[in-house]
């Protein structure tokens, strides 16, 4: 698992070729590697952008304005939840509780949490990322 985590950390997702290669190096079947990868939400096996945005959708975030945040992100990035921008910069996903219920709503961009979001705040954050 640390191997797959390392690859995702660097490239944001796992391609079929990469999983086959890992299997060969470890001398196990490719199905076993895919089986492990597909079990974990953060080990993506589909194309993901450079910045993966995960919006917490569990109850507290959902009560405290998650939909506004999603709507803002969708408008800014011109994609829907589950999609990746054409330039492969951003992916927008929903995720289960990320442990920031007291500062809801919260999102993760790659591994960084952003909390107590408002429409203005999230707009600023994404603008910053767009300039990176």
């Amino acid at each position: 698992m640390p191997i797959l985590q390392g690859i995702v950390h660097k490239h944001n997702y796992l391609t079929d070729e990469v999983m086959v290669e890992v299997a060969r190096e470890l001398d196990i079947s490719a199905a076993e590697v895919y089986g492990t990868a597909s079990f974990y939400t953060f080990l993506d096996t589909q194309v993901k952008g450079k910045y993966v945005i995960r919006v917490c959708k569990t109850i507290t975030c959902s009560m405290k304005g998650k939909s506004d945040i999603i709507q803002t992100l969708e408008e800014m990035l011109k994609i829907k939840v589950g999609e990746t921008t054409a330039d492969n910069q951003f992916s927008l996903l929903e995720t289960n509780c990320i442990g920031w219920c007291h500062k809801a709503p919260a999102i993760l961009i790659n591994e960084m949490p952003y909390t107590e979001l408002t429409i203005e705040k999230v707009t600023e954050i994404i603008k910053d990322y767009m300039q990176k």
């Binding site: 640390p2 985590q5 995702v8 079990f39 974990y40 507290t60 289960n96 442990g99 219920c101």
Partner: protein, 386 residues
């Protein structure tokens, strides 16, 4: 001594001299450490509440060339965020608690399983772990800790699924027995403890079990850290003495319009206003791993239940049928009742299904889906139907 109300305590985040406490603990015999833990009455702080002293005693009794202490930092229960705060503020006490557990059970190795969502903490934790290793070497004790990362799977908080994940596999729970104390990570005897439990163990070593038993009630000794969120003017982390009623809790944290409190997260119980007075927060009433969510009268309990069921449907590992299909059917069922596609008495069938899951599901996830389902449907039936 019985708890008389809501008392704030400062034990978990209390500043201590780590090396002093550890030196004291290492000078004790294994038996003495375990006896202290048994006397303290400490129960696991992850939610399940297994007596920590017993867990250490059983693991200590196993004969094996290798044993492990595993720290469960895969805090995934909706509404819980105390372990993150503890690791951010007092990780040295977590590491210290692991070393004490190591001494008690005869393990030289510790593994912290940290949830993927908290990866951003890792650089700081690594620095603190380095100084911990140096400090423990100076005391002349041999104990080594490693960090292992999760990758966004709630089920990996279940102990045997967590072991599978550490071993690099799909995080699917194992059959029990054998229990972790006999066959845990890498199939070696393992004591797996929650982050907060380990810190509490450290504090018991400092203050002694006698001091600790002055807090709480006979069933729920000591204090614990609560994660408070939802409709409250003061969300956040609070360490409180165990044994208060939900009413006392709501008086402190409510917004004046609290209609229900979800105690213990999605896998916990929903307590409605009419039962606030009689319900005790602790193992004699509603147990909790720390998650306390308040809902005021503007919230639809249907939405709350629907959100929880969606959560379980996604996070069920899919290995056993009662949980995999059960979660999906409960979700589908409440949607059909809401849309009046079936009669409201269909809810009774769904309750039977939840009961079946409690008996037939393989692990704690499937077994506890019924807690939230039955307590929400039972107390807010009209909100689910209309």
């Amino acid at each position: 001594m019985e708890n008389t109300g809501l008392n704030k305590v400062d034990l978990i985040f209390e500043k201590i001299n780590n090396s002093e406490v550890l030196t004291k603990a290492f000078s004790m015999t294994r038996e003495k450490i375990i006896q202290e833990m048994l006397d303290s009455g400490l129960k696991g702080r992850g939610g399940a509440g297994f007596p920590t002293g017993l867990k250490w005693k059983y693991t200590a009794a196993e004969k094996s060339d290798e044993k492990y202490v595993v720290c469960n930092a895969d805090e995934g229960e909706p509404g819980t965020f105390k372990d993150r705060e503890i690791l951010e503020r007092v990780s040295n006490k977590v590491h210290g608690g692991m070393a004490i557990a190591g001494k008690a059970i005869g393990a030289k190795k510790g593994i912290v399983y940290l949830r993927g969502e908290y990866r951003y903490l890792l650089p700081k934790l690594m620095t603190e772990l380095d100084s911990f290793h140096k400090m423990i070497k100076e005391i002349g004790y041999d104990f080594n800790i490693e960090y292992c990362m999760g990758s966004g799977a709630y089920i990996c908080g279940e102990e045997s699924a967590l072991f599978e994940s550490i071993e690099g596999k799909r995080g699917e729970p194992r059959n029990k027995p054998p229990y972790p104390t006999a066959s845990g990570v890498f199939h070696k005897p393992t004591s797996i403890n929650n982050v907060e439990t380990l810190v509490t163990a450290m504090m018991i070593m400092k203050h002694g079990s006698k001091d600790f038993t002055q807090y709480g009630t006979s069933d729920s000794r000591g204090s614990k850290v609560f994660s408070v969120s939802g409709d409250t003017p003061t969300p956040g982390i609070f360490e409180l003495e165990l044994g208060m009623t939900v009413q006392q809790f709501v008086n402190e944290f409510g917004d004046g319009d609290t209609k229900a409190v979800q105690v213990g997260g999605a896998s916990g119980f929903c307590v409605p206003r009419k039962k606030f007075m009689e319900t005790i927060i602790g193992f004699e009433g509603v147990p909790t791993g720390g998650s306390m969510k308040l809902f005021n009268s503007s919230r639809s309990m249907y939405n709350v239940l629907h959100n929880y069921l969606e959560f379980f449907t996604e996070e069920s590992c899919g290995q056993c049928t009662p949980c995999r299909v059960g979660c999906q059917q409960l979700l589908l069922g409440v949607e059909m009742v809401k849309k009046s596609e079936v009669k409201s008495t269909y809810l009774n069938e769904l309750i039977k299904l939840a009961d079946t899951m409690k008996i037939a599901a393989k692990c704690g996830l499937g077994q506890s889906v019924g807690n939230a389902f039955k307590s929400i449907v039972g107390n807010f039936r009209e909100e689910i139907i209309y």
